[in-house]
């Protein structure tokens, strides 16, 4: 615990000093920049709700990744699983003439199934084809990206328009509702908190969690306990894919209200880092996700207020990631 606090303090210090350096080089007022990032994320309830709308998919992906990391799987395909979840949701949302609530429920289930199936696909590539899940996952990310582009450019394009900018906007009845004055889908928050609790329960209390841990530690020995690693690899990656699929569903129905090529917004990759940074501890996931989300949201102030080249926000995020990896590295050495 003490180590963890030191890590976090050290990490923050690194992030801040590194970012300050970058800002200084860019000729920006350092303190102002930090102030604006802070205000940009927390100045009003609207902004906090925007932070939450990023927090939702980040946390969902992270929860899913906890399962695969526990089984020692590198589910880098999470990005594609978000995309496939969004596609699955959209496929249902496009069916006309069903009651909106029913449609949304169906879309939710389909997104879980699609994301899960996509994960399963990477899992099968590993267990049946002997393809390492990192390569399988990366490959499938490309496939899903190609697929969503094809859909947006092809069968699902707006009438008379072929643009990469997205499909037609969903009927308002199919938007996930938010509280007045809030910019985040209430259902998204509820789902995410539920998934967080379920993840904790499954990983800590269920035999599934224990088996995944056993397989993650020693797949050879698992066999001696009549636990088939293949089966649990598939189960964990299916669960991860389902969580990612839900994130895709919320991105589609609660944030963009349509399908866009970058529907996953890189949250899958960010979640991978976040989970590693958390040391695979679920307590830290919502907190770290909140931190990354507020940085993501707050950084937009840099181009608006300080007229900094907007690429700088990306540089700052990159710094955070590097610092995270650095901390991980020294934590490993200790």
């Amino acid at each position: 615990m003490k180590k963890l606090i030191i890590d976090i303090l050290l990490g923050s210090l690194l992030v801040f000093s590194f970012t300050s350096l970058v800002l200084l080089i860019a000729g920006a007022p350092v303190l102002d920049a930090f102030k604006h990032i802070w205000l940009g994320a927390f100045a009003s309830s609207i902004k906090i709700s925007q932070v939450l709308s990023v927090w939702v998919p980040l946390t969902l992906c992270s929860c899913g990744l906890l399962f695969t990391f526990r089984a020692n799987l590198w589910n880098i395909g999470i990005e594609g699983q978000v995309t496939m979840g969004a596609i699955g949701a959209m496929a249902v949302l496009r069916i006309p003439g069903i009651d909106p609530t029913l449609t949304l429920c169906l879309a939710f289930l389909t997104s879980m199934l699609c994301g899960g199936a996509w994960g399963l696909f990477a899992g099968l590539l590993k267990t049946r084809g002997g393809v390492h899940e990192i390569f399988g996952g990366l490959g499938l990310n490309f496939v899903s990206q190609g697929f969503i582009l094809w859909l947006i450019f092809g069968p699902w394009k707006r009438p008379g328009i072929a643009s990469m900018s997205g499909t037609e906007l969903l009927n308002r009845k199919l938007w996930l509702a938010s509280l007045p004055g809030w910019r985040v889908a209430t259902a998204g928050i509820i789902i995410t908190i539920t998934i967080l609790i379920l993840t904790w329960l499954f990983l800590q209390k269920s035999r599934l969690g224990l088996k995944l841990k056993a397989i993650g530690q020693n797949p050879k020995a698992a066999l001696l306990y009549a636990i088939s690693p293949e089966r649990y690899y598939l189960q964990s990656i299916f669960i991860a894919g389902s969580c990612a699929g839900i994130a895709g569903f919320i991105q589609t129905t609660g944030v963009y209200h349509r399908l866009i090529p970058s529907i996953s917004s890189g949250y899958g990759y960010l979640a991978l880092l976040l989970v590693m940074l958390s040391g695979y501890k679920i307590v830290l996931i919502p907190i770290l996700a909140f931190f990354f989300a507020s940085l993501n949201v707050g950084a937009i102030q840099l181009p608006i207020v300080l007229q900094l080249d907007s690429a700088l926000a990306g540089v700052i995020q990159g710094c955070c990631v590097l610092c995270a990896l650095f901390i991980l590295g020294i934590r490993h050495d200790r």
């Binding site: 615990m1 606090i5 802070w38 205000l39 940009g40 927390f42 100045a43 009003s44 309830s45 609207i46 902004k47 906090i48 925007q50 990023v54 990206q145 582009l149 450019f153 707006r158 008379g160 328009i161 072929a162 643009s163 990469m164 900018s165 997205g166 906007l169 910019r183 944030v255 963009y256 209200h257 349509r258 866009i260 090529p261 970058s262 917004s265 890189g266 949250y267 307590v283 907190i287 909140f290 993501n296 937009i300 102030q301 181009p303 608006i304 207020v305 907007s310």
Partner: protein, 394 residues
């Protein structure tokens, strides 16, 4: 464990404290703040820069006006950032008017307009305002770039040696179809009426890349598309996208000894990147449109409008008056410049009307009968490309 809980509590307390702190606002009585959302970078030498410069011009000419802006507003550059989100932010900084400069922002602007009924919105290139059910605080502004593209097509046809003109198209929608068609009509006019050549010898090919600018991995790479054009005998490439790849490639090819040229798009200064390969640029000047709306707002004279502003034929290059213009480039020969001026004059006095029948669509169905002239609405909503154009209509 207790420490963990304390930590979590601390974060929440901090969040709540911030929530209660008042939102900042710079607005004072005599300033007029307007927010500009640009789809591409503010220095793209194209579409977004034209808007950015117009905003700067407003700041210089309308006392008390102040622009706040954000560029690269598209999901590829700013994943997770949505239009309503940015509008919320600009409004919290005191913006009274929001200008969204991309067709891509249609849905977001509409959503934001509903969320902020007391803020005025201008969506560039859309036509929401034509719909009676659309929000009253949302107007549309567009320039009649058809004329600019006709001149571009004219200049291209007058210059090409191979009779093959390439058109680097963005995505396919009504706007891009009508612009490409205008360009083609200008080119065909030059080819048949001025050069008196056989229309069958003129090849006009469109390649759509999928978006207004290059998004690696998502769109086709415009540099590559332009290269393909030049490598397969197209010696003039007209750009319909927001960025200047076509011109840059043309310049490279020219330096390698090829006799090629390009026409960029959108921004007055676009030729500056490679003046020697540039035949000229059809460009927007957004100042007249912006100032019209801002003055209306200041005079409490706002109404929902759909504004499609054309060139000021008498003084086409006057930034205060003309919304559309064509600026000659170094690569355009002097005699062609003269002929282009005559052509422009013809367009201005309507002695030359290119959207006049007989005109067929690409699928050979009739668009305009002999002698029939298209209405504004017919041009605005052009359903497909025209006969004689090579490229996809949907």
């Amino acid at each position: 464990m207790t420490r963990k809980i304390t930590g979590i509590l601390a974060v929440f307390v901090a969040a709540v404290a911030l929530l209660l702190s008042p939102a900042q606002s710079h607005a004072s009585a005599d300033t007029f703040i307007f927010g500009l959302l640009m789809v591409g970078p503010a220095n793209d030498h194209g579409w977004s820069q034209a808007h950015f410069e117009a905003g700067k011009e407003i700041e210089r000419n309308i006392p008390g006006s102040k622009m706040i802006y954000i560029d690269k507003v598209n999901p590829a550059d700013r994943p997770g950032v949505t239009i309503p989100f940015l509008v919320d932010d600009l409004v919290s900084k005191g913006a009274k008017l929001i200008i969204g400069n991309s067709d891509d922002m249609t849905d977001g602007i509409r959503e934001a307009a509903i969320l902020h009924p007391d803020i005025k919105f201008i969506h560039i290139s859309g036509d929401d305002a034509l719909n009676p059910d659309s929000p009253e605080n949302l107007s549309n502004l567009m320039g009649k770039m058809e004329y600019g593209q006709m001149m571009a097509g004219f200049a291209a046809a007058m210059t090409t040696k191979t009779g093959k003109i390439g058109y680097l198209g963005p995505l396919i929608n009504d706007e891009t179809k009508r612009l490409a068609a205008s360009c083609f009509l200008g080119a065909r006019y030059a080819w048949t009426e001025v050069l008196k050549k056989d229309p069958a010898d003129l090849s006009f090919k469109i390649s759509w890349i999928g978006f207004w600018f290059n998004i690696p991995g998502v769109t086709s790479d415009p540099t590559q598309v332009a290269k393909n054009f030049f490598d397969s005998g197209y010696d003039v490439v007209i750009s319909g996208i927001d960025t200047t790849e076509a011109l840059i490639v043309a310049d490279q090819k020219k330096k390698e000894g090829a006799d090629v040229a390009a026409i960029p798009y959108d921004y007055e200064g676009a030729c500056e990147i490679a003046p020697d390969a540039c035949l000229g640029v059809p460009y927007f000047n957004w100042y007249p449109g912006y100032s019209y709306f801002i003055n209306n707002i200041k005079n409490n004279d706002w109404k929902k409008e759909w504004l499609w502003l054309g060139p000021n034929w008498k003084d086409m290059n006057n930034t205060k008056k003309s919304s559309i213009s064509f600026k000659n480039g170094n690569a355009l020969p002097g005699d062609v410049q003269t002929k282009l001026a005559v052509f422009a004059k013809g367009l201005g006095n309507e002695s030359i009307s290119l959207f006049t029948g007989p005109l067929n669509f690409q699928d050979k169905s009739i668009f305009l009968k002999e002698g029939e002239t298209a209405t504004e609405k017919q041009i605005w909503n052009l359903p497909q490309l025209l006969e004689g154009m090579d490229g996809s209509s949907k």
